[in-house]
């Protein structure tokens, strides 16, 4: 794994509606090769494999857990994906084994080793959002997504590194450590869910949870060559996800196959009475819709209308990324899709609108970190000084910059010019997507304008780093779901 492979380039798919019942996101995956080309029956899924081998007695949860823990021990010194590794992994695995041996039922995620991004609350386990201000903070409750995972038998192996509070695209903005890209240790894994993506790529865990506010699941999935799934806004409860930009934040899933990402999504989805922005729509069952590769005809995607977003292939996009996307489009055509170019006229407006909205909301969401009730408090003899020192020493540079930008944008006299205008752009973007999806079943684009950066490459150029989000932010503004997977020519 710790090879010097070229970082894979990825492709975003934006599924909008379900296709004739049988064709799903996952069905696309089973037709594509993955890293695990050696593994057998389709659909390739570590979740399904684990379940099968546990129930058949082929292996035990303890054995699986041990192998992952030893892999973490082996690779973590170079990769630094985890901020915390759970002490309870083996104990939880043993409990599953005992249940199986007693003939009791186990949940669909039994024995599945799952990494959780550090901004998602885990009861009793440190949850810091990679920020000094929350160093050593252990929440008294599980995020709804984590609770569901645990109820289904999943084992939270640890907390993955990230850009502080999700603000960044390289995971270099973590207050604690820099995570390396498993494919090339001199490169970044992307961000902000870099730890979650890299951990799946390096097989430190089977699947992982991340969060995506402007591309924080998709871009690192692209940089690390794994599948990254950003669900529709509201599909997964945000309860327990430390808010960055509440109207954009979603919890997303990483897996090494589409099937795994889909099954993890299924596990954590659904209405939650603790999140009034969560959707009440039923969660469709993905697993029963998986089709075996053998059952495919030569053109399994016949009739699927695919829109290639023109604006994502214009200047500023690496030629390699452009050609990989074109090739992917041709491949989809070969599978029977009807590929046409579509235009989203508002596309370029998304980036500035995103940074105004996300910064504004974050300036408000991060106000609670004042050192009064939890987190690091710097003692001071005067109240304002307590705030100044606690926040001044607790937050990193990128976070401070976004708080300042957001505070500015929401200030009296600037609100209309920035926040309100950005919301109008958001409406426009939503409209354009709607129009494009009226004529297409899915839209495709690259996940990022370039492959993974070198560590340190963009550190002093925040604007260049922000520009790297151009492919992903529009989807968050529109609240749409999107999936990133490697394109065809990247298998070697």
């Amino acid at each position: 794994m710790l090879s010097t492979l070229q970082p894979p380039r990825s492709l975003t798919l934006l599924p909008f509606r379900r296709l004739h019942g049988s064709k799903t996101i996952a069905s696309l995956a089973s037709s594509s090769p993955t890293l695990d080309a050696s593994s057998v029956s389709p659909p390739q899924s570590q979740i399904l494999t684990t379940r099968r081998s546990l129930l058949s007695g082929e292996t035990t949860a303890s054995e699986i857990a041990k192998s992952y823990l030893s892999r973490i021990r082996l690779t973590e010194p170079q990769l630094k994906c985890f901020l915390h590794v759970s002490e309870n992994v083996l104990k939880e695995a043993q409990e599953i084994d005992q249940r199986i041996s007693r003939g009791e039922e186990v949940g669909p995620l039994a024995g599945v080793v799952i990494g959780v991004k550090d901004n998602i609350c885990t009861e009793g386990m440190p949850s810091t959002a990679a920020s000094r201000i929350l160093e050593h903070y252990r929440p008294p409750f599980d995020a709804t997504a984590v609770k569901k995972i645990k109820e289904m038998g999943g084992i939270v192996v640890g907390k993955t590194n990230m850009d502080e509070f999700g603000m960044g695209s390289t995971t270099e903005a973590s207050a604690f450590q820099v995570t390396a890209n498993p494919w090339d240790l001199t490169r970044v894994p992307g961000g902000s869910s870099g730890g979650s993506a890299a951990a799946v790529a390096a097989k430190q865990c089977m699947v992982s949870l991340g969060s995506d506010t402007g591309g924080s699941v998709r871009q690192p999935a692209s940089f690390c060559g794994v599948v990254g799934l950003k669900p529709t806004y509201g599909r997964v409860s945000r309860f327990g996800l430390m808010a960055y930009a509440s109207s954009l934040d979603v919890i997303g899933c990483f897996g090494s196959t589409v099937a795994d990402a889909g099954m993890l999504l299924h596990a954590v989805s659904g209405y939650d009475r603790f999140d009034s922005t969560s959707s009440k729509q039923d969660v469709p069952e993905f697993e029963s819709q998986f089709l075996s590769m053998d059952s495919f005809e030569s053109k399994p995607l016949k009739g699927l209308r695919v829109g290639l977003i023109r604006e994502t292939l214009e200047e500023g996009v690496d030629s390699g990324v452009r050609s990989a996307t074109q090739e992917a489009a041709s491949h989809l055509e070969a599978l029977g899709c009807l590929v046409t170019e579509v235009s989203l006229p508002s596309f370029s407006l998304g980036l500035p609108a995103y940074y105004v909205i996300a910064s504004s909301e974050s300036s408000s969401n991060l106000s609670r970190y004042d050192g009064v009730r939890y987190g690091n408090q710097v003692m001071a003899d005067e109240l304002n000084k307590l705030y100044d020192c606690s926040r001044g020493q607790g937050f990193g540079g990128e976070v401070k910059m976004r708080i300042l930008m957001g505070t500015y944008a929401l200030s009296a006299g600037y609100y209309d010019a920035y926040y309100k205008r950005a919301q109008q752009v958001r409406t426009l973007i939503r409209k354009d997507f709607k129009a494009a999806l009226d004529h297409n079943d899915i839209l495709i684009s690259p996940a990022a304008p370039s492959a993974a950066y070198k560590i340190g490459e963009k550190k002093d150029d925040p604007l260049a780093m922000y520009a790297g989000d151009i492919m992903t932010v529009n989807v968050n503004l529109a609240g749409l779901p999107a999936i990133v997977r490697r394109s065809i020519n990247q298998t070697n």
């Binding site: 609350c121 327990g240 430390m242 408000s364 106000s367 609670r368 009064v372 705030y387 929401l410 926040y419």
Partner: protein, 550 residues
């Protein structure tokens, strides 16, 4: 006269929790009022208080009246009503007053990372009820916003409130001014009613100074509030107090709050400015807090009107010294600078307002729509349903009682307390004579309740029984005197005079020093009244008569 004012306007003696004062609230409402405040209130100001200016000491009340005549007051009131929902607004923590600090808290109201607010539908319910009761139009689509500022009692760093689209707006409230203040009917506009959450409280430990001993109690954080902002129609302290009392009555009638000022369930912040009559611009506004009872509110407002008027007047009198009217304005402006935008605190002990904090520029709360909560959508059907379930409100009750032929004093008394009004309605519902029922409630039952410190719900006499009693007395089946104690002073006096005139010897002995004989006279009168004479009244009148030098 001034003492009357204080006594009658004082329905209850309460002390506001001082912690509530530490909170910042913005006010936007200005009221332009002609300051024809009744002389009584102005006198009270001058007699009881020394406004904190250089001028007031040498102003007699007459001079003060002269000054005040030339100014009009601009008053606005914001009322915060704590709702009596069983849970907090955005989490399921119990909404209970008086719990041990930090025992009624959860990740949501503590503002822990990752916690999200979920609106309790009861809050909307109560907001709609109050909005309708205040004759407001409702926003079928309203939203929540975040009001942002840092303070240790504000766990999230923002208060969830409603900014530009409140749930209700554009209403009014009708009040009757008590007779002793001139009487009459007044209508005050309601600018808006909006939903928001309360903040926690800071407790300062006894030992140590502020920074070392600051304790935050979050039991109150997230408790639902409705904020009512008045229109500029209030003229004086008396009117303001009556406005506040009516708010209290309405929330109690509706059952949305206990309206208890002592617990901070009803809090009034008053904005006040004055300007010379004829001036178009508003004067500089001063906010007064710590108005823990309506009487205090009335006094504080009158004090503040006087204080500001004197500042103006200082300029004016100088202007008169130098030239005449034309230059007055110039000086006015120069001196009026002393009125600065500030929040002043009503000091109950000293009977004056004192500076709490001066505002440096306008606070910017950086309001923006709360992304964690969906819009609040009301259907017309839902609104109609709540409208249909509204009880008869104080104003309707007063008009109904008035139409029954009751005097305004009776009307105000009966409608003041919803449980008294309900009791009265039940009694007359059983066919009792309206005037008799009112008399019974206002004299005998009220006196009994006061003495025994009971409320009407504790009374064993059922409305049915009272109605029968009234009917029996009316039919002369039993006499009113059997029915009740003799409290008519004239009647008692008659009996006393009779006893005294029949006992000249004892009277002489008494007057020569044998005061123990008072007991003899008391006994005689009691005998004559068959034990029905009110003892307190009897002794009072008896002493007067015995000691009278005729």
């Amino acid at each position: 006269m001034s003492t009357t004012l204080f006594r009658t306007i004082q329905p209850n003696h309460f002390t506001l929790l001082t912690n509530a004062l530490l909170r910042t609230r913005r006010t936007s409402c200005h009221i332009s009022v002609r300051c024809q405040t009744s002389t009584t209130t102005q006198q009270s100001s001058s007699q009881q208080q020394q406004p904190r200016t250089s001028a007031p000491k040498n102003h007699g009340s007459n001079k003060l009246d002269e000054i005040l005549k030339d100014y009009e007051a601009v008053i606005g009131i914001e009322t915060h009503v704590q709702l009596s929902t069983s849970t907090k607004a955005f989490c399921s923590c119990p909404n209970s007053y008086g719990s041990h600090p930090n025992t009624s808290i959860c990740p949501v109201c503590m503002g822990l990372p990752g916690a999200l607010p979920v609106l309790s539908s009861k809050v909307v319910d109560f907001g709609v009820r109050l909005g309708l009761a205040l004759n407001c139009s409702l926003s079928l689509k309203s939203k929540f916003d975040r009001k942002q500022y840092f303070y240790p009692d504000l766990p999230k760093g923002y208060q969830i409130s409603q900014f530009d689209v409140p749930i209700a707006s554009g209403g009014y409230v009708d009040v009757d001014i008590p007779l002793e203040f001139g009487g009459g009917h007044r209508r005050f506009g309601i600018t808006r009613v909006h939903m928001e959450e309360d903040a926690g409280k800071l407790l300062h430990s006894d030992a140590g100074d502020y920074s070392q001993a600051m304790i935050v109690d979050l039991n109150r954080a997230g408790v639902p509030l409705l904020e009512i902002v008045s229109e500029p129609d209030i003229r004086s302290g008396v009117e303001a107090a009556e406005y506040g009392s009516e708010m209290q009555r309405i929330v109690r009638y509706l059952g949305v709050s206990n309206g208890n000022m002592q617990e901070g369930s009803l809090r009034c912040d008053v904005n006040i400015s004055i300007r010379p009559i004829g001036q178009a611009e508003f004067g500089t506004k001063v906010e007064i807090k710590n108005l823990n009872a309506f009487s205090a509110m009335s006094r504080a407002i009158d004090y503040e009107i006087t204080r500001q008027a004197l500042l103006y007047n200082q300029a004016m009198s100088r202007a008169i010294d130098y030239e005449i009217t034309r230059q007055a304005l110039l000086y006015n402006q120069g001196q009026a600078d002393q009125i600065v935008t500030e929040t002043r605190l009503w000091d109950e002990g000293a009977q004056k307002t004192v500076t709490m904090r001066k505002k440096e520029g306008l606070a910017d709360y950086r309001y923006f729509p709360e992304p964690d909560l969906p819009e609040v959508i009301l259907t017309q059907e839902y609104v109609d349903c709540i409208r249909a379930s509204l009880p008869e409100l104080p104003e309707a009750k007063r008009r109904r009682y008035e139409a029954m032929g009751l005097g305004i004093q009776d009307v105000l008394f009966l409608a003041n307390d919803v449980s008294v009004a309900e009791y009265f309605d039940e009694v007359i519902g059983k066919g009792a004579d309206v005037k008799s029922a009112a008399n019974w409630l206002m004299s005998d039952i009220a006196a009994y309740l006061k003495n025994e410190e009971l409320s009407i719900s504790d009374v064993k006499l059922t409305p049915q029984e009272l109605a029968e009693l009234i009917a029996a007395i009316k039919d002369e089946t039993i006499s009113g005197k059997i029915g009740k104690q003799i409290t008519d002073p004239v009647e008692i006096e008659k009996m006393i005079m009779k006893v005294i005139s029949e006992s000249p010897k004892q009277l002489e002995q008494y007057r020569s020093g044998k005061t123990k004989l008072q007991g003899f006279f008391t006994g005689q009168v009691m005998k004559m009244s068959k034990g029905k004479a009110n003892p307190a009244l009897l002794n009072k009148i008896l002493l007067e008569k015995l000691n009278a030098k005729d």
